[in-house]
């Protein structure tokens, strides 16, 4: 089972940022970040942390320190990547990209290869000492923890790059 963690403050945003992920994953469980229990993490094979609306930053007030201890593969999308960065002490910087942009994979990895277009919708990012897997306009947009299977993707792969979700969940 893949645990999809919703980061949306507003329920109306779930249909935009969580449902499109659920459509791509047959065996999934959706839980809002405020209601995730250790047992939910333990029961999951892998974990995806969703994005949310551009004006939503409520998730940044929450404690996601379980990310430091988990041995489960995690993919953080947009807000999800910001959450991973914050949990690992990486400062977030203001950086806005809205709409489709070119992405170039710079480090061989399991999730993506080559050059492709991807849909961006964010105003903050943070990459710190994580490995840069791909860049867009010279800025890291896909990152990985140096040791564990914890990935961050600042663009929204569910919009134009469904294969990234498929490869992660395989």
């Amino acid at each position: 089972m893949i645990l999809i963690i919703s980061t949306c403050r507003e329920e109306l945003s779930d249909s935009e940022f969580v449902r499109p992920l659920a459509i791509l994953i047959e065996d999934h469980n959706i839980i809002h970040y405020t209601r995730v229990r250790p047992a939910d993490i333990a029961a999951a094979k892998k974990i995806i942390i969703s994005g949310t609306a551009l004006k939503d930053f409520e998730y940044l007030k929450h404690d996601f320190s379980w990310l430091l201890k988990t041995n489960k593969p995690v993919l953080g999308i947009c807000a999800g990547m910001q959450i991973i960065a914050k949990a690992f002490g990486i400062p977030l910087e203001d950086h806005t990209t809205i709409g489709p942009q070119k992405v170039e994979v710079v480090t061989e990895n399991k999730l993506a290869e080559g050059n492709f277009n991807a849909y961006f919708l964010h105003t903050k990012t943070g990459t710190g000492n994580f490995q840069t897997l791909a860049v867009s306009n010279g800025k890291p947009c896909m990152i990985k923890h140096p040791l564990s299977e914890i990935y961050g993707c600042i663009f929204h792969p569910e919009v134009m790059n469904e294969e990234i979700i498929r490869k992660f969940t395989e």
């Binding site: 507003e10 609306a53 004006k55």
Partner: protein, 227 residues
């Protein structure tokens, strides 16, 4: 949250409005009337019907006319949204965007610049499921424009019902068109929905057929009648 709906009068923006209304207060509709038939953003047959739809829903309408010049029409959209924000104190916008990253990212950018929330409740929804949800929710929509092969004159003015959905799904699989018209193959006009206090009765209409799988069902006169 107080929201404004970017409203074209078609099935998608009506469904998006109904979904948003389950959680938030809808304070106004925002309609852009484009004089350019080729507009990527706003061209919609029967956009004037939004005046009646607004009355039927008892939700005020912010209506802005644009010449529809590429990118400049976005300035007009921004003006309309700003007017809605100032007049109705809205905190966010709802759109019926399903698949177009071109349209969605432009509205997202305007909302970002105007410090508004942006909600796209139909985003990436399966198109056939979307059509069935229109029926399930009790939205009565007709086809008001066709713009792709093999859609012909017989579709114009026809109701979106189960038979029509089956027909559109079949065509979509053989002709690479989007069954819900997300690629601009079909435009629709909503004549009734559960959020309408009265329904729209068309009293004068005309089928305009331009050959090459391109035509509209133009509503010249319509009225609101009791349901």
């Amino acid at each position: 949250m107080k929201l404004g709906v970017l409203y074209s009068g078609g099935k998608d923006s009506t469904l998006a409005l109904m979904k948003a209304k389950e959680h938030h207060e809808i304070c106004c509709l925002i309609s852009i009337v484009s004089e350019n038939k080729e507009s990527y953003m706003f061209h919609t047959p029967n956009i004037d019907v939004t005046l009646l739809q607004s009355q039927a829903m008892e939700i005020p309408l912010v209506r802005v006319v644009t010449k529809g010049e590429k990118e400049k029409e976005l300035d007009d959209l921004k003006k309309a949204i700003l007017e809605a924000k100032q007049r109705y104190q809205i905190e966010g916008i709802v759109t019926g965007a399903v698949r177009s990253t071109y349209q969605a990212s432009r509205v997202q950018r305007i909302c970002y610049e105007l410090e508004l929330w942006c909600f796209n409740p139909l985003w990436l929804k399966n198109q056939v499921e979307l059509l069935y949800e229109i029926l399930e929710k009790g939205i009565h929509a007709i086809i008001s424009g066709v713009f792709a092969e093999p859609l012909d004159k017989t579709y114009l003015g026809a109701e979106i019902n189960k038979t029509m959905i089956e027909k559109l799904s079949k065509i979509a699989s053989t002709h690479h068109i989007s069954p819900a018209g997300e690629g601009g193959e079909i435009e629709t006009t909503v004549l009734d929905a559960p959020v309408f206090m009265k329904k729209i009765n068309t009293t004068k209409s005309e089928i305009k057929w331009n050959d090459n799988y391109n035509g509209t069902f133009a509503i010249h006169d319509a009225e609101l009648i009791a349901k």
